[in-house]
Every structure is written in structure tokens, then in C-alpha cells.
Subunit: 112 residues, 2 copies
DNA sequence: CCTAGCAAGTTCCGAAACAGCACTATAAGC
DNA sequence: GCTTATAGTGCTGTTTCGGAACTTGCTAGG
């Protein structure tokens, strides 16, 4: 089964995953909720390749989760702002964060 | 950046995604929470290939989210049971489900 | 004994996605 | 007219994925 076919699945969890079911998309949204909005900021914060970032931003805009907003006319520049639909993903990010904090402690030497 | 490198990220959301940040893993957990436990059940329910399913189950066991439980000795057979750690992902699934129900209605002809 | 069936995987190959890096486009500043 | 800043694209090799067949270990039937 293809990823895209999930979007018509009977299960709302599956449909949700059809939009944000890869490792990078939720990281972009995390950054958005932290106040980031620009391509270069996302690229640096998440460490993903620019190629993937561009693709995921496009998908998120198509899904109505972000809007591509021109913030500069002179050299045409765009940043990405959460829609209300996107902001309502905050609770989901919170529950994932809480689970991670509880069950996936950092395995660095500094923590022990 | 590689997927696996996320597991040491400072951000708990990123660490969580290092475990369940692909399209299929959360579907397996959804099925577990619905009471499924066997390989063939997961394969049929989610529609993923057996190859990927086997890989994801292995990862989930390694992550301590599922346990591989022998339920038959005669022909060695195993099923997969949620640990407490895994059950605590239920709230996360709920929030994703709620968001999907609200923002991603099924696009079938029957809905219009 | 021989074959079929069930369940949990494993193997193989072509297709798609990804990582890494360089490159483009447009304009501002020196 | 050269450098810097920003938002992407192109290119190339590697990794992962999708689909279907095959394996293993046992049971049931003829």
C-alpha cells in the first residue's frame, strides 16, 4: 500500500498519518510552534536536507497546515505560518513530547 | 541527518519520532490498542508489506514498546503485546485521531 | 508417505525516497 | 561588479520500500 492511499482510510489516525506520518514533518511543526517560520531556520534547526524540507513545506501548505507568506517583496521571500488547523496540532505534539520525556531519556553521559 | 541520529536529540519530540516517526509504526500501535496482536492481523489490518511489518515489530520490541510473546510451543508462534510504555502512547494516538476526525474528513463521494 | 494448509517471518528485485553538496535567482551593500 | 543573504533546484549515489514468492515447523487429510 502506498503512503498517499492512507488519506482515504476509514481510520482518522491513518488519515492523520497520511499528512504528517514521516520523521520530518512533525519536527517542522514543532519548530513552527516554537516560533520559527523561515526555510533556513527550519533547515538549521532540524538538520534535514533542504530538498526534503522544501517538499514537506509544500505538502504542509497543500494540506492547509501552513501558509506560504510573502514577507519581502523586493527580493521575493516567503516564510511559513501555522494556520488554525496547524495550531491545533499543538496538543498532539505535547503528548508526544510528554511520552518522550518520560520514556526516552537522553542517553548522553552528561545525564548520568 | 539520519533517522537514527534523532534518538540522541535534545528535543523529546525528536526522540519520540526516532522511535515511531514513520507512517506504519503508529498504525501498528493503533491496532495493538484495538486488541490485535498477531503478525497476520497487523498485515491485513494496516495493508503494509510483511517485510516492513517484520522490521517495525522488531524495532518496537527493541524500543520496549511491545513484547514478543510465544503463544504456541508446538509450531513456534509469537504474538506482540503492548508493554506499559506502549500503552502510555494511547493518549498520543487519541490526540492524533481527534485532529484527524476534525480536520481530515473522508473525501469519499458519500460524504458530499 | 505425500500433499495441503496455517502462521511468522525471509528473500529477491525494481521503484521510490533520501542524503549531501553544489548551484541558481534576485536583490542589497560595499 | 563582487560578495552576502535567502529560498529554493539539480545531480548523483545510497538507502529504504513495495510486491510477491519462498521458507520453516508443525497439523490434518487421504
Amino acid at each position: 500500500m502506498k503512503w498517499s492511499e492512507l488519506s482515504d482510510n476509514w481510520c482518522p489516525v491513518a488519515r492523520t498519518l497520511s499528512v504528517l506520518g514521516d520523521r520530518w514533518t512533525l519536527l517542522i511543526l514543532r519548530d513552527c510552534l516554537l516560533g520559527l517560520s523561515r526555510f533556513e531556520q527550519f533547515a538549521e534547526s532540524s538538520g534535514m536536507t533542504r530538498h526534503i524540507l522544501a517538499d514537506r513545506l509544500k505538502r504542509l501548505v497543500e494540506a492547509g497546515i501552513l501558509v506560504r507568506n510573502p514577507y519581502s517583496e523586493a527580493p521575493k521571500r516567503y516564510d511559513y505560518i501555522l494556520t488554525e488547523k496547524g495550531q491545533e496540532l499543538a496538543p498532539a505534539l505535547m503528548t508526544l513530547r510528554d511520552w518522550g520525556k518520560k520514556h526516552l531519556p537522553v542517553r548522553r553521559a552528561s545525564t548520568s
